[in-house]
Subunit: 255 residues, 2 copies
DNA sequence: CAGTGGTCTAGACCACATC
DNA sequence: ATGTGGTCTAGACCACTGT
């Protein structure tokens, strides 16, 4: 770049701004191919690294994807509705997400059961002692072989020892009923939703594209005495899910 | 790189993996300085661009920040609890977030009122005609001058024409009460939470660091007849907020 | 002044898919 | 063979900060 021109905003950012504007105003529609690196180099008279940085910026914003060796494309979006069960007694593992485009058939899921040292946020919520182990049921939920979201259910070992919950198959009766039969009656729960970038393992399992954040949805259930019974977690890719809560009707004027 | 070595995983990714491992296992603690680009170049015998890409990857994962010209640092985290009002009659604009570290003083907010063509997702939920305008109250919520989150409230013009809601100051009585006095009694609401990367305008207003996703929390309130009355939105940075719902107690066994 | 990261250039070789 | 993006090198100049 000639030194005559003071660049207040870097060239790569101006290129990214141009392309972004075309995406948001509909000049470039989802699925459409973006200019190649070579054409950006020619169009703006920049080096390849500069053109790449502009395109990388759009990827980081979640607006574009790269599909080598075909080029860069405007990202397509289709989001499902993820509606957490709002009745505590209901089966806590959410059923297949609420709304699917026509053509989607049977949901699929793979379950595994393990005894692990839970992550810190689960230890805190189950009030486990340091180093105390817990049982976890892990699932990858898929739709037509494509991964949709991850879920985990953590239980203190004492709660689920020798129950049906420890078997990966056969959970016909439902976790809530099994726990209630053992005296763990849940009547209070707290949902927490964290928003963060995925860790590489989540990127791999969910086949996430760069620039895709996830919602980490965490439900802690308690008994009537306040003792935590279990922690359910869901990792919901931002490009596939919208979390939805219906608020209970209010009969009184709250003012 | 010598051609003797087939690089299955790129060098920049291996460097990033090394650094990430040190962050997650606590060798590098939040706030600590990461190796400089120059030292990575020397340590791994790579060009500067390769060292930069490794560090850029950590930034994109939300694990690191750059503070030129001081260097790269492990990202600090402190999250507040954002608890949406779950009683529909309550003041819909959420009060200052639930838990603050000691030392935080008075919350601050700047409000503006405008008449705009709302974004598409608001048009859909308010069932506006194409091109129909709406009133919006926009706020930047701050704590000790630092931006925390953005909120917007959209109303069809007919609903709020000539009401106190159109004035940026003085909303002493509460939006719910003002609307109820005009015959818009809300008794049903739906919360939707989108997870996405911020647009550049949100990055600017909230001073977001690269690699920070946001939760877009959207509440649509309806009257008893099912007509939408207003849409409240919040843009909650993932590095500052955890969204929290307390589920209503359940007196019956749901199974 | 030296050291830091931000930006940019001008090349190179590679894997991959299409023609 | 051609064109695509992925990776990598070896430089350059800049702005900013602290010494």
């Amino acid at each position: 770049m000639p030194p005559t021109e003071r660049h207040r905003t870097p060239m790569w950012e101006r290129i990214a701004n141009n392309l972004r504007a075309q995406i948001v105003d509909g000049t470039l529609v989802p699925g459409q191919r973006l200019p190649t690196e070579a054409s950006i180099m020619a169009r703006y008279e920049v080096a390849r690294a500069t053109a790449r940085q502009a395109l990388r910026q759009l990827i980081n914003e979640g607006l574009a994807v790269t599909q080598p060796p075909y080029g860069y494309f405007v990202r397509r979006r289709q989001q499902f509705s993820f509606q957490p069960q709002q009745e505590i007694g209901a089966e806590p593992e959410p059923p297949p997400p609420g709304r699917h485009p026509a053509g989607f058939r049977h949901p699929d899921q793979a379950t595994e059961v393990a005894i692990v040292l839970p992550p810190r946020e689960v230890v805190d919520r189950l009030r486990l002692d340091p180093g105390e182990l817990a049982a976890v049921r892990r699932r990858i939920h898929r739709m037509e072989r494509k991964p949709l979201y991850l879920s985990e259910s953590y239980f203190p070992l004492a709660v689920v020892q020798d129950t049906e919950i420890m078997r990966p198959d056969a959970m016909s009766t439902g976790i809530f009923r099994v726990l209630a039969a053992r005296g763990y009656r849940q009547n209070r729960a707290v949902d927490e939703i964290f928003v963060r970038m995925p860790v590489p393992d989540e990127v791999r399992q969910l086949a996430l594209e760069p620039g895709t954040p996830v919602a980490y949805h965490m439900r802690t259930s308690h008994t009537v005495t306040g003792a935590p019974v279990c922690v359910f977690t869901n990792v919901l890719p931002g490009d596939r899910y919208v979390i939805r809560y219906e608020l209970p009707e209010d009969v009184e004027d709250g003012s």
